[in-house]
Amino acid sequence: VRRWPALALVLLAGCAKDGDRPLQFWGLGREGEVVPELLPADVESQQIPWTAAHEKILTAFVGNSSPDIGQVGNTWIPELSAIGAIEPLDGYLKESKEVSARDYFPGIWDTNVVGGHVWGIPWYVDTRILFYRRDLLEEVGFKQAPRTWSEWMEVMRRLEERAGPKGFAILLPTDEWQPPIAMALQKGAPLLRDGGRWADFREPRFKAAYETYREIYRRGFASVVPNSQVGNLYQQFAQGTFAMYITGPWNLGEMRNRLPPEMRDRWATAPMPAPDGAPWPGASVAGGASLVLFRSSVRKAEAWKLIEHLSRPDQQVRFFQLTGDLPARKSAWSTPELAGDPQARAFWQQLQNVLPTPKVPEWEQIATLFFEHSESAIRGRATTDQALAALERDVNRLLEKRRWLMDRKEKRE
């Protein structure tokens, strides 16, 4: 019986007008966990695990229960803008004194621009760089990380010799598309052509990059394992089971926490090696998360104020301190913790040369298709040509709808 008053309250709250509701913020994973510390007290935040976030944001859009503001992976922006779930921010940006594209890494900002409009403000940045065991590289005669692909292959060859049959030169999980796609972007491969109408994976530059990537497995420099089967990678890195790993900013913190103290100075980071003859550093994939304004919000002006608040350089520094996520604003990088950290410095260098993946809503599916087909090539079930042809066929099939929509739109105009 005691429950009735509470139930009545819930029902009343349900009847309250939307305008009386506090602003709703959806944060993902670890960021969602700490964001309440950065938000004003009257903002309601909800934490959503990364693995379920994409589904949940789409379902919320369909069910008309999107929040006012949310954190989204910046590869989702083409999709969310195409279905009209989020609001273009150009108008707000023009008036804003707080946020300006100049203080952001160009490659990262670019991921938020689709069809000439800005749809999200970068919150933190993510890209992939090389983590390596400095001592082991020195042992095989490399004082610094490889800067070209051929240097990279040579260092892996020597590391592999040193490691013997049980070890590997590099950890390169087969279900991570970022390293091979970064290599393709370094070569200048377009991935898609005709405004994202068709796949372009048999294109010579893509094929060359993919061959080099596959070579790493073929020569036994990396073991053929998906992420789920890697085991305790920190222990393996400390033991020297592998000496290199292409990974992201979260591992700066993880490596410090999880590696034994004597390892502290034995590992380092470096930007990606570049194809022979290309300027160093080679490009990497522009990732990270952005803050977006949902179109269904009835309080967009207030919501935009909140985005501005979270984008202030001091807030960006605090956010970095809380999460270890690298700030999207360049001015936040002058904080001593980042400026004086050589391991984080490699990310700063890399972020000057990051490129977005094709900005089509289908990208996540294309990436999944990519590693599915790639896995069968790596496992020796298909040749490179067969795998890439199959990939191109599947991606073209996937893009059929996009072609139809684009052609229809052109006809109308």
Partner: protein, 293 residues
């Protein structure tokens, strides 16, 4: 319509209404959807969906991933179903044996996995299956075998999930079969013993025939359950990996529907699965009628 008929209809109306709104309408909507290419673009504007007739079904038949999912699901049903039933029968006979003490304890122990949250179970089993630190591989190592990458190797992943599923699900059948065993009159066994029947003869000529209805029930429920298997591969192998070795029909439907939002295609998968289950259940019904005759 008689007065009673009308009264009966009025009494049934709420339930029928609920079924109409929450079951028949969605099914009809899904059927319509399966004839369109409803996808993420159609979320923005329903005019972006095209009527494609049986195109989705034709595409399914050409899709190697669909055949992989169908094969995996069939393997699941054909291997996992009978094994589950067999293990359950063995366990039920043991629990029911006069020599067994603490029957309640065993019944609870066998039933515990059925009611445990799968996510918790999966966490423990992932440890068991871990390639370098898992109990199973330690055991293999002690016997001098090379370690097996249970969940990561496409050749072993499905078998690993099948093993887990049997362990997780056989307890339910045990409870049903124990109840069935208890309802067999003791006099039949006495008569059999007087006729000189040993354990095997008793099992074959008394226990199994009397248990047939329970076995049929378990068979149908278990089979339908395995056709719809989803959660085990969803949590154990990140949704059907490696190389789709553990991808099942429902998992394929879920991925197409909610990850990629290809609702038209996902609906087509759903109707194919539905048709398969209908056919198999009808076969079971026939078998049972023949068994009774």
């Amino acid at each position: 319509v008689t007065r009673e008929g009308r009264a009966a209809f009025i009494f049934l109306a709420p339930a029928l209404g609920a079924m109409l709104i929450f079951f028949f309408l969605p099914v009809a909507a899904a059927l319509l959807m399966s004839l369109t290419d409803f996808d993420i673009y159609a979320l923005a504007d329903p005019a972006n969906a095209r009527f494609v007739g049986l195109g989705n079904f034709a595409r399914l038949l050409r899709d190697p991933v669909f055949w992989k999912a169908l094969t995996n699901t069939t393997l699941f049903v054909v291997v996992c179903g009978p094994l589950t039933l067999l293990v359950a029968l063995g366990a039920a006979l043991l629990v029911n044996s006069k020599l067994t003490r603490f029957k309640g304890l065993f019944r609870t122990a066998y039933f515990a996995p059925v009611v445990t949250t799968l996510v918790a179970v999966a966490t423990v089993w992932r440890y068991l299956y871990h390639p370098s630190f898992g109990l199973l591989n330690r055991f293999l190592g002690a016997l001098g075998f090379a370690p097996i990458d249970w969940l990561g190797d496409p050749r072993w992943a499905l078998a690993s999930i099948i093993l887990l599923s049997i362990w997780k699900n056989f307890g339910y059948d045990v409870i049903v079969l124990v109840a069935g065993l208890n309802s067999i009159p003791e006099s039949l066994y006495e008569a059999a013993r007087l006729d000189g029947a040993g354990f095997r003869a008793q099992l074959r000529h008394v226990t199994l025939p009397m248990l047939l209805p329970s076995l049929f029930f378990c068979g149908v429920i278990t089979t339908i359950g395995y056709f719809q298997i989803f959660a085990e591969p969803y949590v154990m192998t990140n949704g059907g990996g490696p190389l789709n070795a553990t991808l099942t029909m429902v998992l394929l439907m879920y991925k197409q529907g909610f990850r990629w939002w290809s609702m038209g295609y996902a609906s087509a998968v759903a109707f194919v699965l539905c048709a398969v289950i209908l056919v198999v259940t009808a076969l079971f019904g026939r078998l049972q009628r023949r068994g009774e005759a």
